[in-house]
Structure formats: structure tokens, C-alpha cells
Subunit: 489 residues, 4 copies
Amino acid sequence: MCESALTEALHEECGVFGIYDKTGETDMVSAVYSALYALQHRGQESCGMALNVDGVLSGYRDLGLVSEVFTKRVLEDLPHDAKMATGHVRYATAGQRSRSNAQPMVLHHCKGAMAICHNGNLVNAPKLRRKLEMSGSIFHGTSDTEVIGYLLTQNRLLTPNIEMAVSRTMDDIEGAYSLVIMTHTKLIAARDPNGFRPLCIGELPDGAGYAFASESCALDAVGARFVRDVRPGEIVIADHAGLRSIDTHCNTAPHTICVFEYIYFARPDSVIEGTCVHEARLQAGRFLAQEHPVEADVVIGAPDSGLDAALGYAQESGIPYGIGFIKNKYVGRTFIQGNQKQRENSVRIKLNAIESTVKGKRVVLVDDSIVRGTTSARTIRLLREAGAKEVHYRISAPPFIHPCYFGTDIPDEKDLIATGHTVEEINRLVGSDTLGYLSVEHVKQLAIHSHCDFCTGCFTGQYPVTPPAETMDIVYDKPLSVSNPQKKL
Amino acid sequence: MCESALTEALHEECGVFGIYDKTGETDMVSAVYSALYALQHRGQESCGMALNVDGVLSGYRDLGLVSEVFTKRVLEDLPHDAKMATGHVRYATAGQRSRSNAQPMVLHHCKGAMAICHNGNLVNAPKLRRKLEMSGSIFHGTSDTEVIGYLLTQNRLLTPNIEMAVSRTMDDIEGAYSLVIMTHTKLIAARDPNGFRPLCIGELPDGAGYAFASESCALDAVGARFVRDVRPGEIVIADHAGLRSIDTHCNTAPHTICVFEYIYFARPDSVIEGTCVHEARLQAGRFLAQEHPVEADVVIGAPDSGLDAALGYAQESGIPYGIGFIKNKYVGRTFIQGNQKQRENSVRIKLNAIESTVKGKRVVLVDDSIVRGTTSARTIRLLREAGAKEVHYRISAPPFIHPCYFGTDIPDEKDLIATGHTVEEINRLVGSDTLGYLSVEHVKQLAIHSHCDFCTGCFTGQYPVTPPAETMDIVYDKPLSVSNPQKKL
Amino acid sequence: MCESALTEALHEECGVFGIYDKTGETDMVSAVYSALYALQHRGQESCGMALNVDGVLSGYRDLGLVSEVFTKRVLEDLPHDAKMATGHVRYATAGQRSRSNAQPMVLHHCKGAMAICHNGNLVNAPKLRRKLEMSGSIFHGTSDTEVIGYLLTQNRLLTPNIEMAVSRTMDDIEGAYSLVIMTHTKLIAARDPNGFRPLCIGELPDGAGYAFASESCALDAVGARFVRDVRPGEIVIADHAGLRSIDTHCNTAPHTICVFEYIYFARPDSVIEGTCVHEARLQAGRFLAQEHPVEADVVIGAPDSGLDAALGYAQESGIPYGIGFIKNKYVGRTFIQGNQKQRENSVRIKLNAIESTVKGKRVVLVDDSIVRGTTSARTIRLLREAGAKEVHYRISAPPFIHPCYFGTDIPDEKDLIATGHTVEEINRLVGSDTLGYLSVEHVKQLAIHSHCDFCTGCFTGQYPVTPPAETMDIVYDKPLSVSNPQKKL
Amino acid sequence: MCESALTEALHEECGVFGIYDKTGETDMVSAVYSALYALQHRGQESCGMALNVDGVLSGYRDLGLVSEVFTKRVLEDLPHDAKMATGHVRYATAGQRSRSNAQPMVLHHCKGAMAICHNGNLVNAPKLRRKLEMSGSIFHGTSDTEVIGYLLTQNRLLTPNIEMAVSRTMDDIEGAYSLVIMTHTKLIAARDPNGFRPLCIGELPDGAGYAFASESCALDAVGARFVRDVRPGEIVIADHAGLRSIDTHCNTAPHTICVFEYIYFARPDSVIEGTCVHEARLQAGRFLAQEHPVEADVVIGAPDSGLDAALGYAQESGIPYGIGFIKNKYVGRTFIQGNQKQRENSVRIKLNAIESTVKGKRVVLVDDSIVRGTTSARTIRLLREAGAKEVHYRISAPPFIHPCYFGTDIPDEKDLIATGHTVEEINRLVGSDTLGYLSVEHVKQLAIHSHCDFCTGCFTGQYPVTPPAETMDIVYDKPLSVSNPQKKL
């Protein structure tokens, strides 16, 4: 789950899903709807689905949460006789908040139509885009997905089938991508050779068909059995003939999944590369207790994302686990006016400390990250006001201080408290008695059942793939550039 | 005004608008908003505007009426420091009701960005599209405008400036088009050599800039002075250097404006090719009185679009003009349940006859068209129930029995009462005592101050440009086709 | 129809409706819905309906237009097996805009439940309310209707049936009231002895039942045959036994219907006291032509409410009738920003002059009223800018300069241009060449088929019933008063 | 927190709040808004606030959650210069879902205006209402609060001040009530002599004023310091003179607070009668472990309301505490279609088991109640499917099998699984291996710091106050009754 007490949250860029039922017994609209709900934590800006009815592709997508976009009326109006479908949830930064970037992107080309769902970030997208533009291509939005769409289309003209076009396209693109592509007869999953973003395969009951999803929790949501992860570099095709795999690009790069999937993004009930996310977070708490032990009376988690690690810390340290906060589940958007004092109190609308747990106690507070620090400070103050004698703040990840080029939206460096301050300074700024971060060494050992490496670039600045010299933003934000993006549309 | 008592209305496909104020004193958001309101009768499905702030193009468009899409909040969020802007209202048939077809279409290409507004219909769009697809182009929607966008982009690569690209593109495309194109420095209007659809030029007060609009009523709405119509085949460029014209394509075809603009589509206060639309309709009524005289006590119009011609009929015949109907101005979407009788009464929610005008009288009822005939029958029944002794039905246009390939959405032939019935049969079916249509000869003389010919293809089946052998629908509706359109997105 | 080009419109306070079908064949929800649509012009602030299913009363009401309050979903959720129902539309001044004043008011008392619909204004409401409060009554809102509810309830305890309670209540209340009351078995209409507000009786097809309505257009909307007006002072009861009348209060006061019903409020297709409203307005135009003749080329009406009188003026004067304005039927709420010039142009979003009608002409412009004068000035300016040579402004009513105590919401005297200015001054302020108002003498002769007198208090200050010394506002607005109204609820 | 995994939840009827700041420094709108958010769990059907600006009372209330009713726009439109205010959240059964029952109820009477907020249920309301009706009173809704309003008003006529009227009214009414009443100068809290429902007093910072609230979490939300509970039978008055108390009705009945407040309704962070609710729930878990020990590997709670007791069970038993479920925080209203299988899977949209916690384990599942049993069965099935070897189901309350007459909405007996089945049968029906309920004896010892008795009527059928022979429902549901409630309004 990606939201902690922190309102200054990190953001994953997307969740993808695809499903094919050759028997036609699964209602595809309901299936994609359920899966998108399960993946909602991976993107809250926009969502959409594309449906394949006898080879005809249609779609619906809009800005908003699944519950906002797929109203009863919209669901009823969609065709319910599809046998194949894809879905997508998306997060994007404010400047790119745009309906024209919503996915699945449905494209028409000379060999038919195609729906594309993409999670990740290409490092060579600006270069590819410029090249395409020079040959007369036009772009409606700013997302990498449109670049991928062109490449797939052009490669499709040169290859006998779509899977070959996907393979050729993978020769061209660099960076992080987990793709689900639907044509009029095939459903295809593809994952970049580093396997930055998760992607897994499920089987429908009675072998009726298959599903692809960013996380296994979406397979659970549609009643599909988890089969295995898509391998880094693998292309998996589901169609009437069953499931088959192309492994040309496998083992061409080290397997370096984003470690933040375990720490922060993925749902605790998802299993990624063999390790349950909840288990990895328990482990993070245990490591934290080893690295940063302290004498205390109770261990509590910052709701909701610190709870798992807090329980791990309690298990390892022997200090009792407690429930320290109550989170108001009815809180929507709030508009507090009044004076400064009132606005500060208003934090308690969302979160309140439980006095009987913390009063007069030495408290270990476990959280998954500190971004700007303001929310941390406020949370710690709640504990002090509820009577906590000491607050020992433990973070189940290292400080992140470097940008991510592979699909995570990390705030500007200037907004990151860890960029400009030592741990000791942060400890003072947020008001804790002691502060401890998990080490990079331990973070690489969280996924206890997994046999892969990790991208820890946001902690170390060392990336498995060379970051780009320019980003799309750079291309489009130069005021004198002839090429300017639409800001809203 | 395009809606009559008829609910089975004809539909114009679009209205276009562009404005440039070099002084920056005009609030472009408000100007486009006002203009789109004035053009709303030309398209109620979707609308949008694109704004140019220092060369950066942004836009907003959505399904819905101007009042629904441009809420207070949306208006406030749009940038108010643009010096150039375009706007568009669109109608489309149900199957193509799609956000991705909404305009202005903002495109990014290697020379920058471009916003395109289009009114009309290309006869060779399917052919052009197929050719583009064969060279790797991808399409997000089904509208002709995306085809035009590709051609402009590709021609732009081969030409020194955008106006040359427009000119080259006009060599490629055939059919009806009134275009307004905005680049980062220029606002361009272009009209097909036949001048099927109207397009005119206005000047802002004190020579501050220029505006282009489908109808002069939109110039009035922004306080611009009407200068002249864009000539058929002409390209007009407005930029910091003023206004200039390219006439390469002028006089390459006969000037054949769609006669339905006068009869039906355009607003009565608009002046097209020198003739005020209201005046043309008065004239239609006068001709009707000459062609189909009758002894009667009162002449009334079917609200709202029959009123002008009714007054003309009264003037010519000497029979007093009366107000025969009251139209409920509060009626929105209505959901009448209950039995058959109740649903029939429910017509009176929208329209009621005024008894004191028609009771015991011989009534001439003037309308602008009969489509299916059911609304006509219902309207005539209202008069009978209010006590009319006789009802003489006069239509200010000939029967339309042929499809339009130039931008008008005419119902399927099977839904047109005039296709399968004689005038005498229609008279019996709608329940009038006598029925008279305006002749094709007279319809060509309505625009009394205009020096052009008219396209009367929907009446005669003879078109100024050869209709296409295939339409986009044909291309996309074949179930076995590999190329399938998205139905909704 | 109550809205003219004037945005500073007068406001009627309410429309009432009731229907009873002993056969149960009429869908009551649809019937009331249709009737409220037909009466919408009498009140746009709130609306509601109450339904009687086997003696159990339920209701739904809210702020908003009929189309906004009665959405598809609300309509479906309402019970469709009622045999009796009432409905109400309401206007109220801003300060009293309140859901708790919406009607029908459904009350429970010891003899059962009751739904009350009221149009009018009691002159002794403050006195009655104070008396009720002194005996322990509590009030939820500020409307007269709650006072009527208490009196009906208390009189019901002292009388054998509801009709006797209505009769007794009519002994207590003074002023203007047209009431429709529904109990578990009866539908009752009652009208004050002066008959200030209209109220009429209709019969359902095949004698299946009856309907009561403020205006006959609502009877048309439900397919009921107009029977006659409810007589001033009459109580009419519809139940399983048929229709019966109590005339105890008839002829106890002169019949003085509000003349503004003809001039302004009622729909042209309604017949009130034997005269069609459209006919009365034609007559107003004819009288105007007699009183204020002028040499001119064309007579036009200010849309929509000046059209009927303009036609009358043209008929009497022999000057041709013309269509001078086009009104934009798509205009909703508009939010024009920009500079002063742009906001002025924005008037043209709503209304534009037709040049070919007025250019170079001497124009007679007929309107139904001048309130503040600003809209009049703007309308006349539109004509000048379209080239009118002269504008002769004719108003189909006398200047109103006195408050109304009988159910019309007239702006504060300070906002009425006629209060502080002579006709000559107004002529100059609005920019017309000449200005003429209809005389009070003629206004009393408009309803050419009616045999009643008129209340012309707003023109003359002479009222048929003594106005109150205090109003509810006075009671409730004193800041030191112990009794304070809720402003919103 | 009142919602468990159970969708068949119990419902508290209301939460009340009042605040007075003599300095005027607190923004009353924001304060009530924050407090209602904190009390939202006590009622989700409707909410409202009333504001007192210089003695003038105004209010706003509607159906919906706080976030739905108090939009940004509504908040801005409310007056922000009040010094006194009240607020209310309400739950009601479907049949009575009615805007006219929403609170605060603002009433006008001869001594001024009054806003009433009520939590509880009067046992003699039907009798009182009938008596009031017989003397001519009218009722707009069906809630007890309108009865209280009449009694207060009538007693106010006979007494020198409002507090005496409250005291006299308390002589008349029987049952459960926690009231907050606002007049033009006073804010009054009153609690029934049994103290069925909680009500507490807070003090604003720097002694600026006071607040009353159903739960202390609402005091926290506005930054008020908890002072003490209102005593059963006490009347507390806050005005410019400070705080004073009338204890005439104190100690006239045993203090028997509803035990479900601790088990189910109240928020864990609230302190009621000296005991923190979280602490009481931990204690319930500890007692459960004593009463129903079992050999197991992990203890988990049903989210969210079983978590506290699960931790208590773990502490007492020594079995490790685990996190067994992940709850989807994005789930709104869902519309799952498709076949039976798909609808069953859709449970996983809301809740999913964490495999790594339960696989191969003997699991103790702690929940706070079993209502119909279907949700319990589904939750247990999730655990089985995730690999749990055994599931031992522990309920932190006794089976409830009797109706509540004091403000809790318990489902019909026929819908309660415990009514017709033994514990052994329920164990089989829900699919657990063993099932244990907390005993009534232990439930009375949960509030470990409290010195009061408890109402356990829903478990034992023995009530501290004699239940009524009839309920309002009985009075109003007889089809032949002359008195029928409005169903919707």
C-alpha cells in the first residue's frame, strides 16, 4: 500500500492488467474492474479498460479513481460479451495530468487495432520520439506509451506477427517497462530485461484462460491462480492456442527489480519474485531492530504502511507491539479554515494517537519513509501530546536522495529532507529522540525468498541502466523550443 | 438555429473559431467561450478550445455543451494570458460519440505543435488514411481531422512554412472543409475550393487583431467587425504582420455552398455570402406562398425554425401572421413513464398550441423540414386538438432524399419519410389537409444578395464533387476487417 | 412566460397542482412531473411532489428546477401506484432560499397526514404565527404554509371533516391563497375570496378523476379537459364520490385577480377566467398602438415575453411585424471574464439583433416591463448598433411603483427605475427615441372575455385588501428580537 | 470504529456536538466540521450544523457523509462569525431515511429559536407524540427529536429560562438521550439519568469556552481539553457566565451505559467514563483468551474492529500476533456483475488474506460480532483458501439476541444468526474449527477504570428501563392508521 501517514507520498506510475477467457464465461468488464480496484494503489490519477469483442477493440478511460470513472452507468454501457480485455491505472505528476495520456491507449494502424498498457519509464524515449517526429509522426500526448505504439506499428509492418514486432521493439527501447498489449486475437505481456517493474501470470479456473497483472493481488481479485512471474526480458503470448513464451531478451541484463516495490509500492498481500510483500516488510522491521536497537515499552507503526515493519521490529526486539494510532476511515478531501491553531488540530481529523497505548511510555515509531519531514514531525507531536515519554523513530528504508529514472515519481531534491540534512539533523527537525534508517545492505536482503538483485539507485545513485542525458520534460519545457506540449487536454 | 419542433433533427457537424489579438488585451478564454456559445447550434456533442501562450499550446475539450464543459472552475483554471486561441463545437453520430474525436486537436510534431479545427467531410479520407497507415501511421480516433493532421505534418517537413504545408495539403484532400489552424505564431483559415461550409473573417476593434468563424454571429459575440467571407479555396493567415491571403486554390471549382446552411443550420442573425439567413428564410416563405397558395385565416410557424418562413408566407399571401405555439423553455431531458396515452400527452411538456390563435381557423403551418414525419404528425395533431379547422402544411425546403457527403448528418434513407412516399402520401401520413414543399428552383434563389451556386445534392442527388465509393464507416464496420475502430474512448 | 430579455425579472411565488384518478390508470409520478414542467415558469427555486398510496402519504422535494430535482433515478424510486398526488413549484427571495420551505409540505397530526401546496401571500400571517407560538407551536421554516398547516390541524380537531376545517381556516386567514390540499382520501382546492391567484379544475379522460392546477397549461400537460376556474372563495373537493363544492366564502369580496398574471406571469397558452393569456397580450399591444401611435417601419418584440404584444401593436397600427432578435437557446449560466468591453459584448451571447430586420428602419420595440432599466438600455443599444434609425419603446403595462402584498416578489423600490423617474427621464436613460407605457385604464380591459376586476395595486397603490402593518420579514429581522429565523436549512 | 469486516453492521443512531467560544477566535464552521468528521462513525446517513451569530440561528443539513454534505462551497457560504454552534451526525434505518429527520433541528417558538441535537431513543415517544397531536401539534418527520422540541417549547412557556424547561422536559421523557441544545445565548448538554449514551465536556484553550461531544475524540479534533463526562441525569449550561450544572435528575436511576459503546460503536481513541475504548477492547481479547484458550500459531483480527481484541488475545495467550488481512482502502460502492463465481471473488476487492501470515498455520481469528453469519463465513473461507490449517473464531462480545430500545439499530431477530442457533451450530455454519463468544460476566468488566454498570439488554433481555409496549413504527405502520409517516421527503 503506497500511502502512509505521509501526505507527501511517493508515487508509483502505473498498474497493468490483461485477461483472456476463451470460453467467454468470465464477464470481462467485471474482471477488469475488480483487478483495477486491486491495483488502485499503483495509480490514482486516471484509469481505463479496453475490451475485445470478436476482434473489435473498444475502450473507456478517464481521469479519476476506479470508483469515479467506472460508475454503474458506464459499466452497464460497456459491452459485456468480450473474451479479452486489458486495464490500466495511472499516476502522473501534476503538469502531465492529462486525459490524453490515460491508458489503455487504443491505436489503429494498417494491420488493425491494438491496446497498450504500460508501467515504467523509458530512458531513451526523448531520443526515439525526436526520431519519429523527424519522419512525420504526430503525438497527441507526452507519454512514453505513444512512442512504444509507433515502434510496435512500424515493426509490425516489417514482421509477420505482433510478437515479432514486440521483440523488435524491445531492441529499440531502453529502461523500465512492464507491458500488456492486446490485439484482435492475442494478449501479450512483456517485461524489460532488468525486470524493474513486477509482472505476473495467472491461470483462470479450469484452464479457461490466462491473466497478466502487475501484482498477484489482482489475480486473486479475479479468482485466477498465480502461475509465475513474467521473467525479465520475456514475452508471453496468450491466445486460443494457449500460452507461449519468447525468451530472446531474457538474461541479457542483470535482474534488478525496484526495491521500493517491497518497501512501499506493492500491496502486502502480493507475492513478487517469490516473496510476499508483507513478509519483506516484517523482515525490514527485524533488520531495523538489529541495526537500531533501543530500550522501549511499546512498538507502534505509522498507519497504514508502517504496521508490518513495526510488527517485525517488535518480534525481533521483544518489545510489545501496540496499536498507537487510529486513522479516520471517512476522511475525504477536507477544507479546514480558521486560524493556524485550528489547521494544526485538523491533522487529528485524519489521525489521532491512542493515549492508553503511549501515555508515559517509551515508544518506538516505525514508518516506511521520510519525505519532506513535515508529516513525520506532526505524527511525532501527536504522540508527545498523548503523553509519550520518548519517541524513537525507525525508518524501514534508507534515506532516498537520488532521482529515479525507472518509473517512480520522487519529489524534487529540494523537497527531500534527506538531501540536505544529516540523520542527526533530521532527528532534530522531526522531533524524535533517536532516529534510525535501514541500511542499504539490509534492504537488499528483504525479499527473503527471492533470487534476484535490486535497483537501489534512489539510495545510492548507482543505476543498473545508464540514466538518460535528457528527459522528456527537458525536451518540452525549453521556452524557446519549437516543440511544446499541451498542458491540459 | 438548427432545432425545429422536429426531434428527429438534422445535424450540422461542426463550428470553428479562431482569434488573434496582438495587443493581448482580449481575454482569449472569454472570447472563445462567447464564440462557442454563439456557434453551439452547429454542434452539441463536444466542444473545446486551444490557447497559445507565448508559443506554448494548451487545450481543453470534452463531451458536452459549452455550458457543461466550460464550468466556472475549468474557465478559471485555463491560462488567461494567451494572445491567440481556437475553439470548436462538434456534432457526431452516436456510434462515433467519442472524446478522442473532440477538437481542437492539438498535435506535436517535429516542427512544434499545432491545433486544428475542422468543419466538413473529406470524400477521400478513407483512401488517405489507408495510405498513411501503410507507412506506419497510427490513429487514435476516427475523424478526418487526424488525417489532415498527418498531411499537414508531413507536408510541413517538405515546405518552409505552415501556410505552404496547408496549400500542399489542399492538393491532397477532396471534399468539404473549413479549417482554422493555430501554430505557435500563426492563425490560419482555409476553405475548400467549393466553399461547401461557411467561414468568415472579422477584425477586432482598433485593428488589434483578427478572428475567423464559421458564422458571423460568433464575430458579433466577441465584438469583432465582419470583414468578408473567406473565399472558396482561399488560405488566410493572421499573425504579427497582419492579414494575408493565398489564393492558389481559388476559382479551381464552382462555388457551391450548402443550401441547408440558409434553410436550417445557420443562425438567423448570421450573414453568409452577403445574405442574412433570416432574410433567406423570409424569402423561402414568400416563395412558398407563391408556389402553394391556400385560402386560410392565419399563418403560424413551427417553433423555432419555422417562424421566419411563416412570416414571409404571411407577408406574401396577406394572410395574418399568428403565434400558434408556446414552447416550454425549461424543458431538459425528460423521463416520462406511464401508459401510451401519458407519453403522448408528454409532447405537451415541450410544445403546446395556443387555442385562441387557431380555434375554428384555417391554419397554414410553416416548417423547415419533415424528417421521419412523426413529429410533424404530432404537431399537426396539437393544432387539431386545439380546434384548428384546417391545417395546410408548408415546408420551406424540397424533400431530401439523398445522402450528404459534405458534412451534414442526414438520417438513413429508411428513416426519411420522403424517400419512400409521394407528397400526397406524406400529406396523409402527417395528417395535414394540404402539403406543399418549396421547389428546388426556388431554393436556389433564397440567398437574394449572394452571387454563388449551391449544393443541392440532398434534394437532387447531383453533387458538385464526385461522392466517394467508400466511406470511413464502410472501412471500419466490416466485421472481418483487421482494422477496427474503437467504439468508445 | 415570466422571463423577458430582462434579467431583472419579476417573480411569481408559486404554482400548485393536484390530481386524483380513482381508476389508478394514470401514473401519478409522471402526471405530476409533466404538470410541474408546465408550471415551471411560476417558480424555479424549488419543487416537489407528494404521493398518496392507499392512504399513506410520501413525498420528495428539493431546491432546483424540475429537471434537476426529478432525475431519472428519483423518478424510478418514487412509488408508482398512487391514485392521488400533488405538486408544487416555488420561487422565493434569496434570503429565504430554503429547503425547509419547499413544498408540498407533508404534515402529520392526530387525524392523519396532509400535504399542502400554497400559492399566494397571507397579509395576517405574522399575527397568526405569533398567536400560535404563544400557545406552544413550533415552526421549522418561515413560510405562510406552516401557519396554514397549524390552523387546518387545529380546526380539524374541532370539525367532523377536512373540508369543514378548510372552511374554518378561511375565516382566519386573509390575503392571497390558492391551495391544493391532499389527505389520505381527499384532494381539495381552495381559493381566497378575492381570487388573487388563478386556480382551475380539470377532468381526466372518461371521467376517471380530476385535477386542480394554477394554470390550464398544466391540465393540457396531463391530458385533462379544462372544466372551469375555481371560484373566488370556493372550496372544491375531489374524492371517490366525485366532485363537490362549498361556496360559503364565495362572493364575500370583490373578484380582483392579479393583472400581472395576464401581462407577465402566466403562460400564453393558459386560459384564465375565460381569457387566453396570449389574447390578453395581443390586446395589450393593440391598446398600446392606440395610446402611443408612432410612424415606423417595423414592430418587433423583446423575446420572449414581448412577442405577443408586439404582434397586437402591429395588427392595430398596420406597421409590419418583424423578427428583430435571435435568442440563444443554449445559454445556461455564463461566466464572462475579461475587460468591460468584453462583458458588454457578452450580452450578445444571449441575444443578438437581426440586422436585416432593423437596419435603416424606424423600429417599434414592445416589451412587457422595465425594471431597473439596464437591460432595456442594453437591448435598445443592440438595435442601434444593428443600424436601427429610431427606436420607439412601448411597454405593455403601466409603470409599477408600489409593493405587492399578494404573492409577487417585486424588487425594492430603490431598484425600480419608475419609482424615482418620470417617463421622459426613463426614455432618456434607456436610450429610446420615444417611450410609452400602457395606461391603468386599458390594463383593466385586457382580459376581454373575463367578468372580473383586477388588483392593480402595484401600479396604483390601491389594494383590494388592506396591506399588513408588518410583514414576516419585519418580525424576523429585528436584531434584538428573541425570535430569529434560520437563514438556511 | 463501527464497521468490521461485517457488511451486516450494527448501527449507532447519532453523534452530537456543541461548542461555545466567548472570544470569537474559533472559526465555528471549521470546528463543527472537524468534530463531525471525528464522530462520523456514529452516523453516516445525514449530518448538519447550526450556527449562532449574535443570537440569530442558521443551519445547514442534508443526507450524506460530512465530506459530501459540507463541500467547499457550502463551507464558504456558511457564516464564519458565529460564537456558538452545534453539529450532528445521524444514522437511521432505510425506511426512515429522510431529510426531514436530519439534525440539528432548528425550531422557532415564541421565546425565540432553538437548535436541538439528540442521540438516543425515548421509550415513551409514541405516547407523548399522540398526546401532542391531540392538542393540535403537527409533525414534519418521525424522529423523537421533534417530540422533545415540542416539550421544550411548551415547558419554556411555563418556566423562566431554558434550563428549567430542559429539567421539566426530563420529567416527561423516558429512555436514552444525550442532548445538545443551543438557544440564542446558551449551549446546554443533558444526559438521561441512566446515562445510556456517552456525552462529555471539554474546555477550549485558555479558557476561551467549552465544548460538548458524544465522544472525546471530537474534543481532540477541535483542540479542546477533556474535562469530564456529563453525569447521568445532569444538565450542563455553557454561556457568557461560564459553566454550571443542574443535578436534580442525577442519581435517580442506576448508571447503565450501553456496553456496545466499548465493544463496537465508539472510536478506540475515545475515553468513556474513564476507560479508553482501545483498552477495553484489549481487555475483551484477554478475557477471551482466558475463556476460550486454544493451541494455535498466530492470532489475527478481522479488520478493522477486531484488531484491538486480537492483540489482547495474543498478549494473554502468548500466541504471536499477526497481520492476516489487507483491506483495500480505495473501495467505494462497487457494482460487480458477472456470474456467481465472479461475485464471490469480488469479496477480495475489499479484503484479501495475507498468505505468508496464515499458510499452514493454526489461526485464531478475533472479531467483534457475528450478525447474519454470511460475512463471517466468507472471511473464514478467505483464510482457508490462503492455506490456514485451522481457524478458531473468537468473538469479543456475547451473542446478541434481543432488541435494543435505547438507540442501537439491531437487525430483525430473523436476521440474527444467534437467535435461532446454538454456538455449535453457528460454528458449523460459518465454517470455523472452534467458536467462542465472550461471556456476559466478562463483558461487564471490560471498562476497567469505570465505576458504572452497563446495559446488557441485547444479550440478556433484561433492560434497566422498562421497554415500551409500542414503538413509533407500530404506531405508523398500521396500514389502516389515519396517521401515516411520509416515507421520503
